[in-house]
């Protein structure tokens, strides 16, 4: 055990963890809206809209996240026309490519979580709202959405942790996140176990925090 290396690499890895958290929080935020959007489409009665939303979640849940990042980072830059548009400013940066891939990925999972939450709401609650003469939009945003959010908290907590692990793939497109820096230190010192313990410890600590945060929210919004 090389404790000196562990102590030396700790601040470096902690700095890198900030990038991991940045990637995670932005992707989760964007992914939540994508997820809500597609969950609403899934509840639509039009079969084409429904199929489209299902196809989206099927493709993004059926392929590895690594493929998705590579398509967005390496693949899209290949289209000549695409490079001449203003979007290229975003897509040439690995940072934004990673965030786009993560958001689309977590959006697919979130849409499934929210959809099943919406479907478990008892029809009686919505009917009660209707019979009280509340408008459709208000029923949706004031009654259905809060209940669905409460229902989906445990599953969403898992998704946050899965996504946190997913951000490690950012290191494959040259981003120096926690895993990226850990790999760099391992490949220069050839001390994998020590670095793994420190980096893994930081990840576990983050998992622990998220786990408890969700538990706290579950308690707060329980009914």
């Amino acid at each position: 055990m090389d404790f000196e290396l562990m102590a030396n690499s700790f601040p470096k890895l902690l700095n890198a963890a900030v990038i991991t958290l940045k990637l995670l929080s932005i992707s989760l935020f964007v992914g939540l809206f994508i997820g809500l959007f597609f969950a609403i489409l899934r509840l639509n009665k039009n079969i084409y809209i429904n199929k489209f939303a299902y196809g989206y979640s099927y493709v993004f849940r059926g392929t590895p996240l690594l493929v998705q990042i590579f398509i967005i980072y390496f693949g899209l830059g290949q289209i000549e026309y695409f490079r001449s548009t203003f979007l290229w400013v975003i897509f040439k940066e690995p940072y934004w490519c990673a965030i786009i891939a993560f958001s689309l990925n977590t959006g697919a999972y979130t849409s499934e979580i929210l959809r099943s939450a919406f479907q478990t709401i008892k029809p009686g609650i919505i009917e009660a709202g209707k019979s009280l003469g509340i408008s459709k939009n208000i029923i949706f945003f004031k009654i259905q959405v809060p209940i669905a959010i409460r229902q989906s908290l445990p599953a969403y907590g898992n998704e946050i942790i899965l996504m946190m692990k997913g951000t490690s793939l950012a290191s494959t497109v040259t981003l120096m996140d926690l895993t990226g820096v850990a790999k760099y230190i391992i490949s220069t010192t050839f001390k994998p176990i020590e670095v793994f313990i420190v980096a893994g410890g930081i990840y576990l600590f983050m998992t622990f925090i998220f786990h408890n945060l969700i538990k706290f929210l579950e308690k707060k919004y329980s009914f």
């Binding site: 099927y58 493709v59 059926g62 392929t63 590895p64 996240l65 690594l66 493929v67 998705q68 590579f70 398509i71 390496f74 693949g75 899209l76 290949q78 289209i79 942790i161 946190m164 692990k165 997913g166 951000t167 490690s168 793939l169 290191s171 494959t172 895993t179 850990a182 790999k183 391992i186 490949s187 050839f190 994998p192 176990i193 793994f196 980096a199 893994g200 990840y203 576990l204 998992t207 622990f208």
Partner: protein
């Protein structure tokens, strides 16, 4: 379509073998995972606090640490560990472990943690009366586990195991960082030499979709088979 031709002119055969490699690694990893699950599930269910602690540490670490980090640990640390063990037995030459074994082992350990949780949940949701009845009837422990508990457990476990399979299959794409030529690595090579990453990565995505789709069909059949009594 020439680009996907079999033979020297296209990438068809390479991608075909790469797909077989992905399937082989996934199945090996899933199998190694089952072995880990067989070891750790009893520890999780045991009344001994210390054994519980060991099993919980395993599943918590694996489920809280990114797969890629675990793969790097095995990729960089695997050779060293094996050489250390060999040196105890007096063998000091350089030993190279091949990427398949390292990769399958790393993914297997990850998959094992998920399988452990699935088996634990399935066993815990079996009616307690079943255990008691088989004890009362005087079955041997092995007989009642394999003939009474196992069939009931599998029915409950298969839907969740299919999720574990999907996760395992997708995780094998990460082994490409160690240089094992599976779908992802082959696409990377092809994309590099043809300068057509969009096509090859999209094709890789299609291959993965195909694999998940086909395996879901198979698993659904298994599910029907094991729930026929209900």
């Amino acid at each position: 379509m020439e680009i996907l031709a079999f033979g020297d002119t296209g990438w068809g055969d390479e991608l075909f073998y790469a797909t077989l490699m992905t399937i082989a690694v996934s199945i090996t990893a899933m199998f190694i995972g089952f072995i880990f699950a067989l070891i750790f599930t009893p520890l999780k269910l045991s009344k001994n606090k210390f054994l519980n602690f060991i099993a919980n540490t395993y599943t918590t670490i694996i489920r809280g640490v990114p797969e890629l980090l675990v793969i790097y640990l095995f990729f960089f640390g695997g050779t060293g560990a094996v050489m250390f063990v060999a040196s105890i037995f007096g063998y000091n030459e350089y030993i190279e472990i091949n990427a398949f074994i390292t990769g399958a082992f790393a993914i297997g350990i990850i998959s094992g943690a998920y399988s452990t949780e699935v088996f634990r949940g399935a066993i815990q949701s079996i009616d307690k009366g079943q255990f008691e009845a088989s004890k009362v009837l005087g079955f041997k422990k092995i007989v009642y586990f394999f003939k009474i508990i196992m069939p009931q457990m599998l029915r409950l476990a298969i839907p969740n195991l299919s999720n574990v399979w999907q996760i395992t299959l997708k995780d094998t794409s990460l082994i490409s960082v160690t240089g094992l030529v599976e779908i992802m690595r082959q696409s990377y090579i092809a994309a590099g030499s043809t300068r057509d990453p969009l096509f090859f990565y999209s094709f890789a995505a299609v291959l993965y979709l195909l694999l998940t789709f086909l395996s879901m069909k198979l698993i659904n059949k298994l599910e029907v088979k094991y729930s026929r009594g209900y």
